[in-house]
């Protein structure tokens, strides 16, 4: 399969089941909602080293937010269901609560699994906090120097998918970067997905374990490092001099597949040799995203 000269390899991305919460952050204006969201999702690229994977899902029009103010939705994901409430409490408490004018709401109201978040953060109010039940949901009002921070008591948690991915194999580093940027732009705001890495792009794809250090759970994916082509079992065609990866996490497999289709389609451009994907032979992750099946009809 070829799309605008880029070869789509017969392979698949292998992804894992994760636990997801959707957080709605609102503020007086979009600037402050975004400031809070950027802090909330900072240092949250991979559970390999960050405990949580997070990203901004999309900007919300005023009419879509619970309080009618400008807002953003964020997805936060962990491997274990016990980890997610801890990450929500510590991160919302340190980033959203502290940010001027913000409020914080659950974005998965239909999820049966509910996590106590506002119910924990309320203690910052030192006994001066108050709550209101509105439409059957409790909201905490925590007095702060600026006024009041409003946070929903419980947040929904659902099973999601983490680790959807594709690799852009390009003739030059510039071509790889331009293709990756085009892919990210095409996927921006796609409902139900986040791209947790910087600018949505990963330059340091990893393999499981290490050749030398037993305790390392991940190390550089030498098969895709162009500088190692001559001394390792390379996976790179001769014409490839740079590889970038796009990692996609989502609420469900359908959302990831939809975003991948858009992203791969946009990445297939001048200077791109092929599109591949990272997997572990299909034995570790239950979710497999076959590139050619996803791109069926796009060639």
């Amino acid at each position: 399969m070829n799309i605008r000269g880029a070869f789509i390899e017969e392979t698949f991305a292998e992804a894992f089941t994760m636990r997801v919460a959707r957080i709605i952050i609102t503020a007086r204006n979009e600037r402050w909602a975004r400031e809070a969201a950027l802090k909330l999702t900072g240092f949250a690229t991979s559970v390999i080293g960050c405990k949580v994977e997070a990203g901004i899902e999309r900007q919300l029009p005023d009419g879509e937010t619970p309080d009618g103010r400008p807002g953003l939705s964020v997805l936060m994901m962990t491997m274990g269901k016990d980890d997610l409430p801890k990450r929500l409490i510590e991160r919302i408490g340190q980033t959203v609560l502290t940010c001027p004018t913000t409020a914080c709401f659950d974005g998965l109201p239909a999820a049966p699994d509910r996590l106590g978040v506002g119910s924990a953060l309320r203690f910052f109010g030192d006994g001066f906090q108050a709550s209101k039940v509105i439409g059957g949901e409790r909201f905490w009002r925590i007095p702060v120097m600026e006024g009041e921070f409003v946070v929903q008591e419980r947040f929904g948690m659902v099973k999601g998918v983490g680790g959807g991915n594709f690799l852009i194999l390009a003739r030059t580093a510039d071509a790889a970067l331009q293709a990756a940027e085009a892919a990210v732009d095409a996927m921006a705001g796609y409902p139900g997905v986040i791209l947790p890495f910087p600018g949505g792009v990963v330059r340091s794809g990893s393999k499981v374990g290490s050749r030398r250090i037993k305790s390392m759970i991940a190390s550089t994916n030498d098969a895709y490092c162009p500088t190692l082509r001559a001394i390792t079992a390379t996976a790179l065609p001769d014409t490839v001099n740079s590889v970038l990866e796009i990692v996609i996490n989502g609420i469900d497999a359908e959302a990831i597949a939809g975003a991948m289709r858009l992203g791969i389609g946009a990445a297939c451009r001048e200077g791109v040799v092929s599109i591949s994907a990272g997997n572990y032979g299909g034995k570790l992750g239950p979710h497999h995203f076959h590139l050619r099946k996803i791109m069926d009809g796009a060639a």
Binding site: D67, A103, I134, E148, V150
Partner: protein, 253 residues
């Protein structure tokens, strides 16, 4: 036709205590079951609802009261669930000590809406009591939880001894609101005399009121305006003769 409808055959000749009509589990009752529930008429004693009104429809958790229910006292007292609509005015003590569900009155309501029974320590403990018109004195007295809304004016001594919960008034509020309250909120979108036992705290834009008022607009079509959502409110803490964790939020501009 969905839901139950209770249509008075004629005006009630005297005050009728309707506290037994919707107390306990009622949402699964058929029209015939509901028609058998008692109403106690002053000077006459208990009679079956069916003697006073036609009851029809299929149960779906809702009931509409049609006709002149101004003499009906304690309608929806102790309500725990379901949706109740009164298409006109309602009498005294509507939603007395209700604990859940919703009551929506299209017209006005009498005294002590959502309040506590005289012998009780708590008024409403949950649910939503929305009166599109005005309510009489002592509305929400001893409220413990829940939401009481008046689209019109509110009589004197509203939210007296409020323990928690929220009272929203779109119109003017009478003298002495929130006296002896421990916690809870009195939200005034119109005129309100602040009792001397409340102290001014600040003027700000409470985000939670945007949630609350948006819901009232969406669910009950109450006349919430943009100025209510994005406006400033003066916050008064009180009753300082009590716990002092209550508040009056008075819209300013």
């Amino acid at each position: 036709m969905s839901g139950l409808e209770v249509k008075l055959r004629g005006a009630l000749e005297a005050v009728a205590d309707c506290s037994a009509l919707l107390a306990g589990a009622w949402t699964g009752l058929t029209a015939a079951d509901l028609a058998r529930r008692p109403v106690s008429i002053a000077g006459r004693g208990p009679v079956a609802l069916g003697e006073l009104a036609g009851v029809s429809g299929e149960p779906d958790g809702t009931v509409r009261f049609v006709g002149d229910w101004r003499q009906a006292a304690r309608l929806g007292a102790g309500l725990t669930g379901g949706r109740v609509a009164i298409e006109g005015d309602a009498g005294d003590e509507i939603g007395l000590a209700m604990a859940g569900g919703s009551i929506e009155v299209r017209g006005n309501a009498g005294e002590r809406a959502g309040a506590a029974a005289p012998e009780a320590r708590r008024g409403m403990t949950g649910g939503e009591l929305v009166v599109h018109g005005s309510v009489g004195r002592e509305a929400g007295a001893l409220m413990r939880r829940g939401l009481l809304v008046a689209g019109g004016t509110v009589g004197d001594h509203a939210a007296a001894g409020m323990i928690a919960g929220t009272l929203v008034a779109f119109g003017a509020v009478g003298p002495a609101p929130g006296l002896w309250s421990k916690r809870g909120s009195v939200v005034a979108l119109g005129e309100l005399p602040v009792p001397s036992t409340y102290r001014y705290a600040c003027t700000y834009q409470p985000v939670h009121l945007r949630l609350l008022l948006s819901r009232l607009q969406a669910r009950y079509a109450l006349p919430v305006e943009g100025r209510h959502l994005s406006g400033f409110y003066r916050r008064y803490s009180g009753d300082l003769a009590e716990l002092g964790k209550g508040e009056i939020l008075a819209w300013t501009a």
